[in-house]
Symmetry: C2
Subunit: 155 residues, 2 copies
């Protein structure tokens, strides 16, 4: 039987932070206040954020930092490389980022209000593996999006 659910965060912020620090140390990179704020903001947000939205949020909550948009982009790329965050590119332009340390899930995107709902279906996950196998394709990642109208926008 298929199982569907909203996703819940499965990792503590402190754990995530330590992982991130360890990763940086391993590569001789530095842990800066900007990187911490970016990770923290992503962690605390339930939303899928665009770099621009993340930037604005950080400027609002940490106005003393004057964090530049370039740093946001650079940090997001670095985080994505390390699979700490995942990006979702869709429609028009731009990507949205979310923490990748959550359980894997797929997305339902409302074309009216842009809202994104997460879901998970074990059966689909299983079928994807089977298909790839048939094609001799080695899956590293996958994404599935359903586009349409959310409950609210149908009214």
């Amino acid at each position: 039987m298929s199982q569907q659910s909203f996703t819940s965060r499965t990792i503590e912020y402190d754990t995530l932070l330590e992982e991130f620090k360890a990763l940086l140390k391993k590569n001789g990179e530095k842990f800066t206040i900007q990187r911490e704020i970016i990770l923290e903001t992503l962690y605390n947000s339930d939303e899928h954020l665009t770099p621009e939205a993340l930037h604005q949020l950080i400027q609002k909550e940490h106005p003393e930092l004057k964090t530049g948009i370039a740093t946001i982009y650079r940090t997001l790329s670095r985080l994505e490389e390390s699979d700490i965050v995942t990006s979702l590119s869709f429609g028009a332009q731009g990507k949205k980022y979310e923490l990748g340390a959550k359980d894997h899930h797929d997305h339902m995107i409302c074309t009216e209000c842009g809202d994104i709902t997460e879901f998970l279906d074990d059966e689909i996950e299983r079928l994807q593996e089977l298909i790839a196998k048939d094609f001799g394709f080695k899956i590293k990642d996958h994404s599935m999006q359903l586009y349409g109208l959310c409950k609210t926008c149908q009214e």
Copy 2:
């Protein structure tokens, strides 16, 4: 049981062309040689084309037209609006377009060579509908991508 297959074109070019013409006429728009070439080129291509790639292909095959990139963009947008073509946005930047009049299918994208393989699985399609129903979500479209290494690039 799941069914998997490569997708085959199910519509004749002439039929597609007539549909397109009818659509234009309905909206008081005009059928131009550029629009025909764009549709034809998309039809004859097995690939998923970026606007830039489409432009180059057209310039190569119809150098006498000097088709501008702006026209490509404008026409692709119009075609997408009318569901004649579908765009696929992924990874880095840019979209790729393909004829939407084929049977519906999903994509397997090689992260090494960028190659895109199409596939279809009826069971997954069915499950998607069920999930959306559960969330009160009205699906208008959907897309699924598996990212990884194609057979060739694994070697």
